[in-house]
Amino acid sequence: MLSFTDILGLDLAKKALLLAAVDVSLGGVLIPATVGSGKSTLARAFAHILPEGTPFVELPLNITEDRLLGGLDLEVALATGKRVIEKGLLAKAHGGVLYVDSFNLLDSVSEAYLIDALSRGKVLIERDGVSDVHEARFILVGTYNPAEGEVRMGLLDRIGLIVPFTPNSDEKFRAEVVRRVHFQTHDSDADDDKLLQGLILQAREILPRVEIRDEEVSGLVQTALSLGVEGNRADVFAVKAALASAALAGRLDVDEEDLKLAARLVLLPRATRIPESEETKKEPKPPEAPQPAESESQSDSPDNNNENNHEQTPDQIEELLLDAVESELPENLMNLAASAKRRSKSGSRGEALNYRHGRYVRSEQGSLRKGKLALVPTIIQAAPFQRVRKKTNRRNHSAIIITKDDIRIKRFRDKAGTLFIFIVDASGSMALNRMQQAKGAVTKLLQEAYVHRDQVALIAFRGKQAEELLPPSQSVDRAKRALDVLPTGGGTPLASAMLLGLETAKQMKSKGITQTMLVFITDGRGNVALSQSNTDASDKQKIATEIAALAQSINREGLNSVVIDTQTGYLSRGEAKRLAEQLGGRYIYLPNAKAEQIAAAVKSS
């Protein structure tokens, strides 16, 4: 097994892990990396640089609730008749590392339990008739491949350090990795691990004494604001990361490098916008920064003045930090935009609990007529009563006496419901009208989404290409926010929209959404080709071919389609109808349709 220092690359990830080891309250580290980049090897190696006996717990994706949170201990129940909770994985990771591979594929309820444990530092158990509390402060290490979808933001908020995603592709580097891993040319050096262990222990010890100046705190906060970081928790994490970085270097003062590292690991991955340019930014600052008190206290301490960077104002620090993250910003913003699109696991609503199919997550009391027997939970339930029952029921010689009240049946969680992808023509003169209709229909469907656990997405197309205005979601709030922007006019890139719709549907399929309905609101007349060549009139044939091919793919993928033609009669030339045929879907002619009518039509399709 490779040791922590042996693993090539992932330098920033290593730094982040070290910081998390120094200050456990940072919550942990999230490492996005491509397949085979050594991310999980790194996570496992991480356990070895922590002090002896630190637990390392790996959380499997298909975990049941009682294994995660804790459940009744069968042995104790049988032996003593007492109800004692056996610790779940969250509690077992206390004081150590909880490792989740393919973090982005974790289901939303398990995520919610993780968030809860992270925020409390303990697990509250109110299960199986037992009330208990287990300590659960751990370093969460999550690795995932961004190509498989992003992580839910709620969790990102609780995990302090997020390593910016950089796909490494340097040839030399790749060759060296192969040499090390396959040919074992490099001697694993256990001493390096020992050294790091020592560093971490020392850093933990001095951490409470590390100082950060008010200006530096302000600088970090201003940077967070400039980058549009949501929520106030990131500020706290940024300061903690800077302090931990200083402690790791054995310093009692935070310096520039610490602040930069904090900005890269905490603020950069949470950025939602590119900061305004220097000139426009400077203007409104003066009235906002009256800090005479702080600069006074500054001059009180003489030893602060001997180094250059100690005199920096919050504005200067902000500038420094923005410079440091600037080059990586566009890449990460793009990731974020992508993640916002893929952030489709909108709560447990998309994953219904049921008694028949899906992943077995928990058991509950019930009759066998209602569901399938959960054997172990039933036995566990009966266990405490065995001594009494045996005493009062001497003629019954069964090994275990089970009564009706003991019966536990399985509850499964399954991604359920239909995904409706609205693909709306936002080009031309009727666009505004169509967008309003689509918007109304989307909101209407979402309001009824409870019952069916449906999700809705909206793709608009105009100009050069299609745009996903609303990623698959169940939230009326989000839908409203996303749909407030109604860009209209321009060309008609129908093919681009079909492609995006197909991609969205496929992506959701990998997440368990098995039923998808594409709802086209268009007259079916695409006039922009998918390939970015010169689009002139001669491309008409090409466009038609593209549309036909895409329609076939959609049909083959098993996706249902409906084409709603809202064009008034005399303009209609049958393109929409042909599109419907190619898609193998329904064609509905609804001139001047109301949102309700569209919603109703879609539901009945």
């Binding site: 008749g81 968030i115 299960r127 199986d128 709560g347 509950e364 939230s475």
Partner: protein
């Protein structure tokens, strides 16, 4: 009325069981309470900003009939920190000694009254974790008692513990549907009925429901939304000074919680006193007819169905007046609480672009303007 002293009874269909007098402090419970004492909680008064949420919580302490608070907002804005901090500024209540349902002496059945004394406990705040199972929420058979004495006794659940206190659900929009059903049932009736495993029991369960969540992670069921008296919305604080202050206080607290709590003790005590005083004033607060008419007009103009809107405003405004130390509700009291009282009661319009809170605010302005010109 929910708050009236309705006498509840406990009926055990099993042998000669008397209602459990003292909680036979089971191991798990004992460890839990010591646990809670061990970890210090960030003080309520030291939380920067988020005034709407804080006010909504305090008003519910002053008058539990307001019907709870739903707090929705961005992640990382201190929702759960604030709710968990509330416990420390809550006043004491009187209950029959060791009563598992926190009943006052006046609700204890006469036949066992002579054995009971009164004691004072802080208003209970009960955390309902997401993974809770129904038997722990509603209560179930006390297994240890069953084994040691052969008697089937009732082991109360979270609903019993929360009686006369607060029941807090974080990530309320992710709560399992069948638990939501149970909660809706109990919240409406104020009584928890358990029929299972050969036990039949009814006990009072009147609590202030506090829920929090992030609206982007899924919608709340409309019936549940309707249950909440007030609906606070919170957003990220964007003032640099405030954000720096948040970071500094957090760090101070993390480094030395005891010293931090000590430093904030006067503020905490003052707030608690103010709440206690307001509680005593609430029954005496009156609302002039003109103000009441304005409230009715407001609700009508906003097209709010039913009367829960007016009732909530009246209660919340009265509590607010009491909090301000006054005995008469003014229009400014109504103003202070109208948005959280009505925000979640507007009919949903798919094409509406403005936020519900803004809409309430706008109507409010219009009505107040009429007031000025008259």
């Amino acid at each position: 009325m929910l708050h009236n002293a309705v006498s509840f009874y406990i009926k055990m269909t099993m042998k000669k069981t008397s209602p459990p007098k003292k909680k036979s402090a089971s191991r798990s419970h004992a460890s839990k309470s010591t646990e809670k004492k061990k970890s210090p909680v960030f003080p309520f008064t030291a939380i920067v900003g988020q005034d709407e949420m804080k006010l909504c919580l305090l008003l519910n302490v002053i008058d539990p009939r307001i019907g709870g608070v739903l707090v929705m907002g961005h992640r990382g804005t201190g929702k759960s920190t604030t709710v968990r901090a509330l416990a420390d500024v809550l006043p004491m209540i009187e209950r029959a000694e060791g009563d598992i349902y926190n009943r006052p002496l006046s609700e204890i059945p006469k036949e066992e009254l002579h054995t009971r004394k009164a004691e004072h406990i802080p208003v209970p705040v009960v955390d309902l974790p997401l993974g809770a199972t129904e038997d722990r929420v509603c209560g179930t058979i006390d297994i240890e008692k069953a084994l040691t004495s052969g008697v089937k006794a009732f082991e109360p659940g979270l609903l019993a513990q929360a009686n006369r206190g607060f029941l807090y659900i974080d990530e309320v929009n992710l709560l399992d549907d069948h638990l939501v059903d149970v909660l809706l049932d109990v919240a409406a009736s104020g009584v928890n009925v358990v029929e299972r495993e050969g036990i039949s029991i009814r006990h009072p369960a009147r609590f202030v429901l506090v829920g929090s969540g992030n609206p982007e992670e899924g919608e709340l069921r409309p019936q549940l939304l309707d249950r909440f008296g007030l609906h606070a919305r919170i957003t990220t604080i964007n003032k640099i000074q405030d954000r720096v202050e948040i970071v500094k206080r957090r760090r101070e607290f993390d480094l030395n919680p005891e010293a931090f709590l000590e430093a904030w003790k006067p503020e905490q005590d003052a707030l608690r006193e103010r709440v206690v005083k307001a509680q005593s004033l609430v029954p005496k607060v009156t609302m002039p007819d003109e103000v009441l008419m304005k409230v009715a007009t407001l609700c009508m103009r906003l097209g709010i169905d039913g009367h829960r809107g007016e009732l909530t405003i009246t209660r919340a405004a009265s509590a607010y007046a009491a909090f301000e130390g006054r005995l008469e509700v003014t229009l400014s009291d109504v103003r202070a609480i109208a948005v959280p009282a009505l925000r979640h009661r507007l009919r949903r319009d798919p094409l509406e672009t403005i936020d519900a809170g803004e809409k309430v605010e706008r109507e409010l302005q219009a009505i107040l303007k009429v007031e000025e010109t008259v």
